[in-house]
Symmetry: C2
Subunit: 209 residues, 2 copies
Protein backbone atom coordinates (compact mmCIF):
# COMPACT_ATOMS: atom_id res chain seq x y z
CA UNK A 1 0.00 0.00 0.00
CA UNK A 2 2.94 2.31 0.56
CA UNK A 3 4.28 2.29 -2.96
CA UNK A 4 6.63 5.20 -2.43
CA UNK A 5 8.32 3.53 0.54
CA UNK A 6 9.24 0.49 -1.55
CA UNK A 7 10.56 2.78 -4.26
CA UNK A 8 12.74 4.56 -1.70
CA UNK A 9 14.09 1.33 -0.20
CA UNK A 10 14.85 -0.04 -3.67
CA UNK A 11 16.77 3.13 -4.46
CA UNK A 12 18.71 2.86 -1.18
CA UNK A 13 19.61 -0.78 -1.91
CA UNK A 14 20.80 0.21 -5.37
CA UNK A 15 22.99 3.03 -4.02
CA UNK A 16 24.50 0.69 -1.40
CA UNK A 17 25.23 -2.03 -3.96
CA UNK A 18 26.75 0.36 -6.47
CA UNK A 19 28.69 2.75 -4.26
CA UNK A 20 28.83 1.22 -0.78
CA UNK A 21 26.80 1.76 2.36
CA UNK A 22 28.70 4.95 3.24
CA UNK A 23 27.25 6.66 0.19
CA UNK A 24 23.68 5.90 1.22
CA UNK A 25 22.56 9.36 2.26
CA UNK A 26 19.14 10.93 2.39
CA UNK A 27 20.32 13.26 -0.32
CA UNK A 28 21.70 10.55 -2.63
CA UNK A 29 18.63 8.34 -2.23
CA UNK A 30 16.29 11.26 -2.75
CA UNK A 31 18.08 12.27 -5.93
CA UNK A 32 17.75 8.71 -7.26
CA UNK A 33 14.03 8.71 -6.53
CA UNK A 34 13.79 12.11 -8.20
CA UNK A 35 12.64 14.04 -5.19
CA UNK A 36 13.86 16.39 -2.47
CA UNK A 37 15.64 14.85 0.61
CA UNK A 38 12.87 16.04 2.91
CA UNK A 39 10.29 14.14 0.89
CA UNK A 40 11.69 10.87 2.26
CA UNK A 41 10.90 11.65 5.88
CA UNK A 42 7.17 10.83 5.91
CA UNK A 43 7.94 7.42 4.35
CA UNK A 44 10.99 6.16 6.24
CA UNK A 45 11.19 8.53 9.19
CA UNK A 46 14.85 9.53 8.86
CA UNK A 47 18.22 7.93 8.23
CA UNK A 48 17.88 5.26 10.96
CA UNK A 49 14.47 4.26 9.65
CA UNK A 50 15.87 4.04 6.13
CA UNK A 51 18.57 1.60 7.30
CA UNK A 52 16.00 -0.45 9.23
CA UNK A 53 13.87 -0.60 6.11
CA UNK A 54 16.85 -1.87 4.13
CA UNK A 55 17.40 -4.61 6.71
CA UNK A 56 13.76 -5.63 6.44
CA UNK A 57 14.05 -5.76 2.68
CA UNK A 58 17.08 -8.06 2.97
CA UNK A 59 15.43 -10.44 5.40
CA UNK A 60 12.47 -10.85 3.09
CA UNK A 61 14.98 -11.87 0.40
CA UNK A 62 16.19 -14.56 2.82
CA UNK A 63 12.81 -16.17 3.42
CA UNK A 64 11.99 -18.28 0.41
CA UNK A 65 9.79 -21.33 1.15
CA UNK A 66 12.37 -24.16 1.60
CA UNK A 67 10.38 -26.73 3.56
CA UNK A 68 12.16 -29.62 1.88
CA UNK A 69 14.62 -32.12 3.34
CA UNK A 70 15.44 -32.97 6.94
CA UNK A 71 16.71 -30.53 9.56
CA UNK A 72 20.34 -30.90 8.42
CA UNK A 73 19.53 -29.74 4.89
CA UNK A 74 17.19 -26.97 6.03
CA UNK A 75 19.82 -25.54 8.36
CA UNK A 76 22.43 -25.69 5.61
CA UNK A 77 20.05 -24.07 3.14
CA UNK A 78 19.36 -21.09 5.36
CA UNK A 79 23.06 -20.71 6.18
CA UNK A 80 24.10 -20.82 2.55
CA UNK A 81 21.38 -18.37 1.54
CA UNK A 82 22.63 -16.01 4.25
CA UNK A 83 26.16 -16.30 2.94
CA UNK A 84 25.09 -15.61 -0.63
CA UNK A 85 23.13 -12.60 0.58
CA UNK A 86 26.30 -11.27 2.16
CA UNK A 87 28.15 -11.76 -1.10
CA UNK A 88 25.48 -9.96 -3.11
CA UNK A 89 25.26 -7.14 -0.54
CA UNK A 90 28.63 -6.86 1.27
CA UNK A 91 27.36 -3.99 3.40
CA UNK A 92 24.50 -6.09 4.82
CA UNK A 93 26.11 -8.23 7.56
CA UNK A 94 27.39 -5.21 9.47
CA UNK A 95 23.90 -3.74 9.39
CA UNK A 96 22.37 -6.97 10.69
CA UNK A 97 24.81 -6.95 13.61
CA UNK A 98 24.14 -3.35 14.47
CA UNK A 99 20.35 -3.24 14.43
CA UNK A 100 18.33 -5.51 16.72
CA UNK A 101 16.22 -7.60 14.40
CA UNK A 102 12.66 -6.96 15.44
CA UNK A 103 11.38 -6.71 11.88
CA UNK A 104 8.59 -9.27 11.31
CA UNK A 105 10.70 -11.12 8.74
CA UNK A 106 13.58 -11.41 11.20
CA UNK A 107 11.29 -13.08 13.72
CA UNK A 108 10.08 -15.45 11.01
CA UNK A 109 13.69 -16.41 10.23
CA UNK A 110 14.33 -17.07 13.92
CA UNK A 111 11.16 -19.18 14.04
CA UNK A 112 12.45 -21.29 11.14
CA UNK A 113 15.65 -22.01 13.06
CA UNK A 114 13.72 -22.81 16.25
CA UNK A 115 11.59 -25.32 14.33
CA UNK A 116 14.70 -26.88 12.77
CA UNK A 117 16.39 -27.31 16.16
CA UNK A 118 13.25 -28.81 17.71
CA UNK A 119 13.02 -31.25 14.80
CA UNK A 120 16.66 -32.20 15.42
CA UNK A 121 15.71 -33.20 18.95
CA UNK A 122 17.34 -30.36 20.89
CA UNK A 123 15.61 -30.00 24.28
CA UNK A 124 13.22 -27.03 24.24
CA UNK A 125 15.08 -25.19 26.99
CA UNK A 126 18.31 -25.30 24.96
CA UNK A 127 16.77 -24.21 21.64
CA UNK A 128 17.05 -20.43 22.13
CA UNK A 129 20.73 -20.66 23.01
CA UNK A 130 21.49 -22.87 20.02
CA UNK A 131 19.57 -20.53 17.74
CA UNK A 132 21.71 -17.63 18.92
CA UNK A 133 24.89 -19.69 18.62
CA UNK A 134 24.17 -20.81 15.07
CA UNK A 135 22.93 -17.44 13.81
CA UNK A 136 25.80 -15.61 15.53
CA UNK A 137 28.37 -17.86 13.90
CA UNK A 138 26.79 -17.73 10.43
CA UNK A 139 26.39 -13.96 10.58
CA UNK A 140 29.92 -13.61 11.93
CA UNK A 141 31.36 -15.72 9.13
CA UNK A 142 29.49 -13.79 6.49
CA UNK A 143 30.48 -10.47 8.04
CA UNK A 144 34.12 -11.55 8.22
CA UNK A 145 34.12 -12.51 4.56
CA UNK A 146 32.29 -9.39 3.42
CA UNK A 147 34.21 -7.02 5.68
CA UNK A 148 37.60 -8.41 4.76
CA UNK A 149 38.49 -9.77 8.20
CA UNK A 150 39.41 -13.15 6.70
CA UNK A 151 41.44 -11.50 3.99
CA UNK A 152 42.67 -14.68 2.34
CA UNK A 153 46.07 -16.33 2.51
CA UNK A 154 47.90 -13.23 1.33
CA UNK A 155 47.19 -11.47 4.61
CA UNK A 156 48.63 -14.33 6.60
CA UNK A 157 51.74 -14.43 4.46
CA UNK A 158 52.12 -10.65 4.45
CA UNK A 159 51.81 -10.20 8.18
CA UNK A 160 54.35 -12.87 9.06
CA UNK A 161 56.99 -10.90 7.20
CA UNK A 162 56.51 -7.78 9.23
CA UNK A 163 57.24 -9.25 12.66
CA UNK A 164 60.44 -10.68 14.21
CA UNK A 165 60.73 -14.42 13.57
CA UNK A 166 60.61 -15.73 17.12
CA UNK A 167 57.57 -13.60 17.94
CA UNK A 168 55.11 -15.90 16.21
CA UNK A 169 56.05 -19.47 17.10
CA UNK A 170 52.72 -21.03 16.16
CA UNK A 171 52.66 -19.25 12.79
CA UNK A 172 56.09 -20.69 12.08
CA UNK A 173 54.95 -24.21 12.97
CA UNK A 174 51.93 -23.85 10.66
CA UNK A 175 53.70 -22.16 7.76
CA UNK A 176 53.01 -25.08 5.45
CA UNK A 177 49.23 -24.72 5.83
CA UNK A 178 49.12 -20.95 6.13
CA UNK A 179 50.68 -20.48 2.70
CA UNK A 180 48.06 -22.61 0.94
CA UNK A 181 45.06 -20.76 -0.51
CA UNK A 182 41.81 -21.23 1.42
CA UNK A 183 38.69 -22.79 -0.11
CA UNK A 184 36.06 -20.68 1.63
CA UNK A 185 33.14 -22.74 0.36
CA UNK A 186 34.69 -25.87 1.86
CA UNK A 187 35.55 -24.11 5.12
CA UNK A 188 32.01 -22.80 5.56
CA UNK A 189 30.64 -26.29 4.86
CA UNK A 190 33.06 -27.85 7.39
CA UNK A 191 32.05 -25.29 10.03
CA UNK A 192 28.39 -26.08 9.43
CA UNK A 193 29.13 -29.79 9.80
CA UNK A 194 30.73 -29.05 13.17
CA UNK A 195 27.69 -27.05 14.27
CA UNK A 196 25.41 -29.91 13.24
CA UNK A 197 27.58 -32.24 15.34
CA UNK A 198 26.99 -30.04 18.38
CA UNK A 199 23.27 -30.04 17.73
CA UNK A 200 23.27 -33.83 17.55
CA UNK A 201 25.20 -34.01 20.81
CA UNK A 202 22.66 -31.74 22.50
CA UNK A 203 19.83 -33.91 21.14
CA UNK A 204 21.18 -37.35 22.08
CA UNK A 205 22.58 -36.12 25.39
CA UNK A 206 19.04 -35.51 26.57
CA UNK A 207 16.88 -38.15 24.92
CA UNK A 208 19.19 -40.94 26.16
CA UNK A 209 20.22 -39.88 29.67
Amino acid sequence: VDDRRQEILDAALAVADEHGIDRVSMRAVAERVGVTPMALYPHVGGKAGLLDGMVGHLLAELLEPADTGDWRERLGELAHRTRKLGQRHPWAPALLFARPSVAPDAVRAVDQIYATLLEAGVPAEDVPRFERMVSTFVLGFVASEAGGRFGGGEVSRGRRGRLPEGDLPAHAALARWLDAPVDWDAEFAADLDDLRRLIELAATGRSQP
Copy 2:
Protein backbone atom coordinates in the same frame (compact mmCIF):
# COMPACT_ATOMS: atom_id res chain seq x y z
CA VAL B 1 58.54 7.56 19.95
CA ASP B 2 55.46 9.08 18.34
CA ASP B 3 54.02 10.70 21.43
CA ARG B 4 51.49 12.79 19.59
CA ARG B 5 49.99 9.77 17.85
CA GLN B 6 49.25 8.08 21.18
CA GLU B 7 47.71 11.30 22.45
CA ILE B 8 45.47 11.43 19.39
CA LEU B 9 44.39 7.78 19.69
CA ASP B 10 43.65 8.23 23.40
CA ALA B 11 41.50 11.23 22.57
CA ALA B 12 39.65 9.24 19.89
CA LEU B 13 39.02 6.37 22.33
CA ALA B 14 37.68 8.82 24.88
CA VAL B 15 35.30 10.43 22.37
CA ALA B 16 34.04 7.00 21.27
CA ASP B 17 33.47 5.82 24.84
CA GLU B 18 31.72 9.00 25.91
CA HIS B 19 29.64 9.86 22.85
CA GLY B 20 29.68 6.82 20.55
CA ILE B 21 31.74 5.91 17.50
CA ASP B 22 29.63 8.10 15.22
CA ARG B 23 30.86 11.20 16.99
CA VAL B 24 34.51 10.31 16.40
CA SER B 25 35.38 12.88 13.77
CA MET B 26 38.67 14.46 12.81
CA ARG B 27 37.25 17.72 14.07
CA ALA B 28 36.05 16.40 17.44
CA VAL B 29 39.28 14.52 18.12
CA ALA B 30 41.39 17.49 17.08
CA GLU B 31 39.47 19.79 19.39
CA ARG B 32 40.02 17.36 22.30
CA VAL B 33 43.74 17.30 21.58
CA GLY B 34 43.69 21.09 21.34
CA VAL B 35 44.75 21.36 17.75
CA THR B 36 43.40 21.96 14.26
CA PRO B 37 41.83 19.00 12.37
CA MET B 38 44.53 19.11 9.73
CA ALA B 39 47.22 18.66 12.38
CA LEU B 40 46.09 15.03 12.81
CA TYR B 41 46.90 13.99 9.26
CA PRO B 42 50.67 13.56 9.56
CA HIS B 43 50.15 11.30 12.61
CA VAL B 44 47.24 9.06 11.64
CA GLY B 45 46.91 9.65 7.93
CA GLY B 46 43.18 10.40 7.78
CA LYS B 47 39.93 9.08 9.19
CA ALA B 48 40.54 5.47 8.10
CA GLY B 49 43.99 5.49 9.68
CA LEU B 50 42.55 6.91 12.87
CA LEU B 51 40.07 4.01 13.10
CA ASP B 52 42.84 1.48 12.37
CA GLY B 53 44.91 3.04 15.12
CA MET B 54 42.00 2.68 17.53
CA VAL B 55 41.71 -1.02 16.62
CA GLY B 56 45.43 -1.47 17.29
CA HIS B 57 45.08 0.22 20.64
CA LEU B 58 42.23 -2.17 21.57
CA LEU B 59 44.12 -5.28 20.56
CA ALA B 60 47.06 -4.28 22.73
CA GLU B 61 44.59 -4.04 25.62
CA LEU B 62 43.64 -7.66 24.84
CA LEU B 63 47.15 -9.07 25.03
CA GLU B 64 48.08 -9.40 28.68
CA PRO B 65 50.54 -12.25 29.44
CA ALA B 66 48.19 -15.11 30.52
CA ASP B 67 50.41 -18.15 29.98
CA THR B 68 48.84 -20.01 32.89
CA GLY B 69 46.62 -23.07 32.90
CA ASP B 70 45.92 -25.64 30.20
CA TRP B 71 44.53 -24.89 26.76
CA ARG B 72 40.93 -24.93 28.01
CA GLU B 73 41.57 -22.15 30.51
CA ARG B 74 43.70 -20.11 28.11
CA LEU B 75 41.02 -20.20 25.44
CA GLY B 76 38.38 -19.20 27.98
CA GLU B 77 40.56 -16.39 29.30
CA LEU B 78 41.06 -14.83 25.88
CA ALA B 79 37.36 -15.20 25.06
CA HIS B 80 36.27 -13.60 28.31
CA ARG B 81 38.76 -10.77 27.94
CA THR B 82 37.38 -10.13 24.44
CA ARG B 83 33.86 -10.04 25.80
CA LYS B 84 34.80 -7.61 28.56
CA LEU B 85 36.55 -5.42 26.00
CA GLY B 86 33.31 -5.28 24.03
CA GLN B 87 31.43 -4.27 27.15
CA ARG B 88 33.91 -1.51 27.97
CA HIS B 89 33.94 -0.29 24.35
CA PRO B 90 30.61 -1.20 22.71
CA TRP B 91 31.67 0.37 19.42
CA ALA B 92 34.71 -1.94 19.16
CA PRO B 93 33.36 -5.27 17.83
CA ALA B 94 31.87 -3.67 14.73
CA LEU B 95 35.23 -2.07 14.00
CA LEU B 96 37.05 -5.40 14.41
CA PHE B 97 34.66 -7.00 11.90
CA ALA B 98 35.06 -4.22 9.38
CA ARG B 99 38.85 -3.83 9.26
CA PRO B 100 41.11 -6.74 8.33
CA SER B 101 43.31 -7.28 11.36
CA VAL B 102 46.84 -6.92 10.07
CA ALA B 103 48.01 -4.87 13.02
CA PRO B 104 50.98 -6.59 14.72
CA ASP B 105 48.97 -7.12 17.90
CA ALA B 106 46.18 -8.79 15.93
CA VAL B 107 48.65 -11.29 14.51
CA ARG B 108 50.00 -11.94 18.00
CA ALA B 109 46.46 -12.69 19.22
CA VAL B 110 45.95 -15.12 16.33
CA ASP B 111 49.27 -16.75 17.19
CA GLN B 112 48.12 -17.27 20.78
CA ILE B 113 45.01 -19.10 19.52
CA TYR B 114 47.06 -21.18 17.08
CA ALA B 115 49.34 -22.27 19.94
CA THR B 116 46.34 -23.11 22.12
CA LEU B 117 44.75 -25.26 19.43
CA LEU B 118 48.03 -27.08 18.73
CA GLU B 119 48.39 -27.76 22.45
CA ALA B 120 44.86 -29.18 22.44
CA GLY B 121 45.96 -31.69 19.82
CA VAL B 122 44.14 -30.29 16.78
CA PRO B 123 45.92 -31.49 13.60
CA ALA B 124 48.06 -28.70 12.16
CA GLU B 125 46.10 -28.58 8.91
CA ASP B 126 42.85 -27.95 10.79
CA VAL B 127 44.23 -25.27 13.12
CA PRO B 128 43.67 -22.23 10.86
CA ARG B 129 40.03 -23.16 10.28
CA PHE B 130 39.38 -23.68 13.99
CA GLU B 131 41.06 -20.38 14.80
CA ARG B 132 38.73 -18.60 12.38
CA MET B 133 35.71 -20.50 13.72
CA VAL B 134 36.45 -19.69 17.36
CA SER B 135 37.39 -16.05 16.80
CA THR B 136 34.42 -15.52 14.47
CA PHE B 137 32.01 -16.89 17.02
CA VAL B 138 33.49 -14.96 19.96
CA LEU B 139 33.60 -11.73 17.99
CA GLY B 140 30.07 -12.36 16.73
CA PHE B 141 28.75 -12.96 20.21
CA VAL B 142 30.41 -9.84 21.56
CA ALA B 143 29.20 -7.77 18.60
CA SER B 144 25.65 -9.09 19.05
CA GLU B 145 25.64 -8.14 22.71
CA ALA B 146 27.21 -4.74 22.14
CA GLY B 147 25.15 -3.92 19.06
CA GLY B 148 21.85 -4.94 20.61
CA ARG B 149 21.16 -7.88 18.30
CA PHE B 150 20.47 -10.17 21.27
CA GLY B 151 18.27 -7.56 22.89
CA GLY B 152 17.19 -9.65 25.87
CA GLY B 153 13.91 -11.39 26.57
CA GLU B 154 11.83 -8.27 26.12
CA VAL B 155 12.53 -8.29 22.40
CA SER B 156 11.35 -11.85 22.06
CA ARG B 157 8.22 -11.11 24.05
CA GLY B 158 7.57 -7.85 22.22
CA ARG B 159 7.94 -9.25 18.75
CA ARG B 160 5.61 -12.20 19.31
CA GLY B 161 2.79 -9.80 20.05
CA ARG B 162 3.08 -8.06 16.72
CA LEU B 163 2.53 -11.07 14.48
CA PRO B 164 -0.51 -13.32 13.87
CA GLU B 165 -0.54 -16.29 16.28
CA GLY B 166 -0.22 -19.15 13.80
CA ASP B 167 2.65 -17.46 12.01
CA LEU B 168 5.26 -18.42 14.60
CA PRO B 169 4.62 -22.04 15.57
CA ALA B 170 8.05 -22.66 17.11
CA HIS B 171 7.90 -19.47 19.17
CA ALA B 172 4.58 -20.66 20.56
CA ALA B 173 6.01 -24.05 21.47
CA LEU B 174 8.93 -22.39 23.25
CA ALA B 175 6.97 -19.64 24.99
CA ARG B 176 7.84 -20.98 28.43
CA TRP B 177 11.57 -20.56 27.84
CA LEU B 178 11.40 -17.43 25.74
CA ASP B 179 9.74 -15.49 28.54
CA ALA B 180 12.49 -16.25 31.05
CA PRO B 181 15.31 -13.70 31.36
CA VAL B 182 18.63 -14.82 29.85
CA ASP B 183 21.82 -15.18 31.89
CA TRP B 184 24.32 -14.01 29.28
CA ASP B 185 27.38 -14.94 31.33
CA ALA B 186 26.11 -18.51 31.57
CA GLU B 187 25.18 -18.63 27.89
CA PHE B 188 28.61 -17.43 26.80
CA ALA B 189 30.24 -20.02 29.07
CA ALA B 190 28.01 -22.79 27.67
CA ASP B 191 28.86 -21.77 24.10
CA LEU B 192 32.56 -21.88 24.94
CA ASP B 193 32.10 -25.35 26.42
CA ASP B 194 30.54 -26.47 23.16
CA LEU B 195 33.43 -25.02 21.15
CA ARG B 196 35.89 -26.83 23.41
CA ARG B 197 33.96 -30.03 22.76
CA LEU B 198 34.44 -29.56 19.01
CA ILE B 199 38.14 -28.96 19.50
CA GLU B 200 38.43 -32.17 21.51
CA LEU B 201 36.60 -34.06 18.78
CA ALA B 202 38.98 -32.71 16.15
CA ALA B 203 41.94 -33.72 18.33
CA THR B 204 40.88 -37.28 19.18
CA GLY B 205 39.45 -37.91 15.74
CA ARG B 206 42.95 -37.69 14.30
CA SER B 207 45.26 -39.06 16.96
CA GLN B 208 43.19 -42.29 17.21
CA PRO B 209 42.16 -43.12 13.64
